[in-house]
Symmetry: none
Subunit: 213 residues, 4 copies
DNA sequence: TATGAATGAGCTTTCATTCAT
DNA sequence: CATGAATGAAAGCTCATTCAT
C-alpha cells in the first residue's frame, strides 16, 4: 500500500540534483561567483539549503559543476553541426551563425565564462572533464580550412585556434558588453535589425579574411 | 622653512582621494564588485576605511567613480592616436595595435568592463560623465573609413561602430578569457610569440575585411 | 530513555524565540529603540546573534514584536479584572489600583510606550494584532460608568476613553518621570510611604470626579 | 575700512552657541539621546561639527545643556502666571490650562523629559542649575490651596506636589502617547474638538477633586 | 534523502570624536 | 572662531556552512 511515492514532493535524487544545478547556473550567471547566494539558489530550486551541500559539497564545487555542465552542453551542440559534411565556405558561415545564435540563446554562458576567468580559471584546472573535452571543434575547423585551401577558395596559413577565438570574440564582445555599449553609443544593440546587422558584419569579416581574394 | 610638505603621510585630500581610487580599481578588477572588500581597499590605500565613505559615500558609488576614471583614461589615450593625420590603412592598423597593447597594459579595464556589464551597466546609467565622452573615436574611425573608400583602397558600407566593436572583440575575448582558453587548448596564450601571432592575426582579419580586394 | 530534553541548551525554537523576545524587551526598555544593541540582546538571551535575524528579520521588526507581546499581556491582565461583576465605585477604585500596580510591576511597559511614541507609533501601524485588541476595557469601563449613573452615585456625561487616559496618566507621569521629579523635588517618590500616598491621591482624584456630590 | 564684520557669515559666538542649542533641542526631541546625530545637529545649525565640541564638549554635555535650557524656559513661563494674585479656583483652572497649552506649544519638552528619564536623569543630577530652580510653582500652588481652604471652597489636606504632578500627568499622557492612543482607539486625539474636550475633562477632574463638595 | 535550527566570521556602514590648520 | 580631514570602535546585518534529527 505504501510503496511508491507517498509524497508528491518526490524523493528523487536525480531531479533534486538537476534542480540545484539549474538554479545555480542562473544565480551564478546573474550575480557572478561572489555575488551569488546559496540561499537564493535553494529558493530557486525550491529545496532545502542543506541539500546543496549534500550534493555539491561547497559553493566553489557547485560553481565548478555548473561550469562543467555548461561546457558539456556547448561542446555537444558544436558536434551536432556536422561541419565536416559541408562545403568549406558554408561550414565557416555555419560556425559563425551557430556561435552568434548560441550566445544569444545562452546568455549565461557568457557571464559564467567571465566569472571563471575572473578567478583565473582555478575551477577548471581542477576539472578533468573539461580538459578532456578539449574542443574537437578545433580539429574539425582545421579540417574545413584545409579542404578550403586545397580547393583554392581559402587562403593558407590560417590557425584554426586563432580563427575560432576570433569568431567567438566578434560575438562575445558585442553581446557580453551590450549594456555599456548601448549606454555609450546610445543605440539599442539588441533590436532584431541590429542583431541581423551584427551577424551580417561578423560573417563579412570572417569570410573576408578566410576567402582567397 | 615651513614651506612644502612637512609630513609625507598626507593631510592631502587630493592624494587621499587618488590613493583610494587607485586601490579600488585594483581591488574591483581583481575580485569584481561583489567580491571586492572595502577593508582591503583601505589597506591597499594605507588609509582609514572610514575615509572611503567620507569621499565616496558607498561601495557602489566608489565603483562608479572607478569606472569613470577608467573610461576617461582610455578615451584620452584614444585621442592621442592622431588617426586623422594618417594614411587610412595605417590608421586602421594603428587602431588594432593600440587596442591590443592597451588591453595588455591595462588588464583591469577588461575585468571592470565585465563587472559593469554583469550589473547591467546600472552604474554607468547614473553617470553623466561617461555618456558625454561618447567615444569620439567612432567619428574619427568613420572619417578614416570614408577617406579609404574615396581613395579606392577600402570597401564601402562599413559601419564604424561595428568595426570598432570587432577590433575590440578580437583582442578582448583572447585576453579576458586567456585562463580558460589556455586551460582548454593547452597552449600558453601569453608568451611573446603567442602575443605577436595574435596581433598579426587580428590585423590580417581586420585589414582583410576593410581592404578592397 | 531518550524521551525528554536530552540537552538543556535547546534546539527548541519555541524557547529560543521566547528567550530573544524576553531579552529584547529588557534591552529596548532600558535603552530605547536607538540605544538598544542587538549584541546585548543576543548575550542576554545566551544565543547567537544571527538567530535574532533568523527569527525576527530586523531590529525594527523585533521591536514591533516586543510591543505586540507587551500589549497582549496588559490587555489580558485587564480582562482578568472582572469589573462587570463589581459595584461601580469598587470597579473604578479597582481599575485605579490595578493600573498603578501594573505600571510598578512592569516598568518596561512605560519606557516601551515612550519609545513607540517617539517613533510616532509607526511600528504599531504595521501591526494588525494590536489594532484588533482595541482595548475592550473601554467598553467595560463605559458599562461601569453607566451603571453608576443609573444608580445615582456617578455623575453623567463621563467619556470612558477620557477617564481611562486620565487614570493611566496619573500613574504614568509619576512613575515614568520619577527620576527627574525626584531630582527636582528632592523627594524619594518610590518609598513605600510615597507609593501609598500617591495611590491614595490618585483614587481621591478619580473618585472625586466620578462620584456625584 | 576692514573693521567690523567683513564676512556675512558672522563670527558671532553667541549666535553660534544659540544655533547649536536650538538645533540640538530639535534633534534630541525628534530622535531621543541615542537616536540623535551630531552630524544632523551641525547641518541643522548650518555650522561645522567641530564647533559643537568646541562649545559643548560632548554629546552628553550638549544634551544636558538642552535640558537646562528647556527647564529654564518652562520655569520662567510658570512664573509669569501670577497665580498669587488670582482667586484660588481661577488660579487652579489657570494652571491646568497653562500646562495643557504649554505642552501643546512645546512638544519637544515632552520627549526630552522622556529621554532624560530613560537615562535615569543622570544628566540632571550633574546640573546645579536645574536643582536650584526647584520649582517655585510648588510653593505658589501650596499658597493657592491654602487660601482656597481658608475661604472654605477647597478641601483640605491636598499636597501641592501631588496635585502638580496630577495636572501635568493628565496632559502629558494624552499628548506624549497620542500616536499609540490614536492608533488603538481609532480616534484623532488632536482635532480642535478633541483638544477642547480634553481640556474640559482635565479641568473637571482637577476641580472635582480640589473643590469642597 | 531531507530539513529547520544554529553559528562564527566577516561584511558594509555609522558614529562620536579628534587632528591640523 | 572656525573648518575640512581623519580615525577607532562598534553597529546592524549577511553569508557560507554545520548541527541534530
Amino acid at each position: 500500500m505504501t510503496t511508491m511515492e507517498t509524497d508528491t514532493r518526490a524523493r528523487d535524487p536525480q531531479r533534486s540534483r538537476a534542480a540545484i544545478l539549474k538554479a545555480a547556473r542562473e544565480e551564478f550567471a546573474a550575480h557572478g561567483l561572489a555575488g551569488a547566494r546559496i540561499d537564493r539558489i535553494a529558493t530557486r530550486a525550491d529545496l532545502n539549503k542543506r541539500l546543496i551541500y549534500y550534493y555539491f559539497n561547497s559553493k566553489d564545487d557547485l560553481f565548478l559543476s555548473v561550469l562543467e555542465s555548461v561546457y558539456t552542453e556547448i561542446r555537444s551542440a558544436e558536434q551536432r553541426l556536422r561541419l565536416l559534411e559541408m562545403d568549406p565556405t558554408d561550414a565557416v558561415r555555419r560556425l559563425v551563425e551557430f556561435t552568434w545564435h548560441y550566445f544569444i540563446a545562452h546568455p549565461e554562458f557568457l557571464t559564467l565564462l567571465a566569472s571563471a576567468n575572473l578567478h583565473h580559471a582555478r575551477h577548471l584546472e581542477r576539472s578533468t572533464r573539461v580538459q578532456e573535452m578539449n574542443s574537437p571543434v578545433i580539429q574539425t575547423l582545421g579540417d574545413v580550412l584545409e579542404r578550403g585551401r586545397k580547393a583554392g577558395t581559402f587562403r593558407g596559413g590560417v590557425d584554426p585556434v586563432q580563427l575560432y577565438i576570433s569568431i567567438a570574440g566578434l560575438a562575445y564582445f558585442y553581446l557580453s558588453n551590450k549594456y555599456t555599449l548601448s549606454s555609450i553609443f546610445g543605440r539599442d544593440l539588441m533590436s532584431p535589425k541590429a542583431q541581423a546587422e551584427r551577424l551580417g558584419h561578423m560573417t563579412d569579416v570572417i569570410l573576408g579574411y578566410v576567402l582567397r581574394t
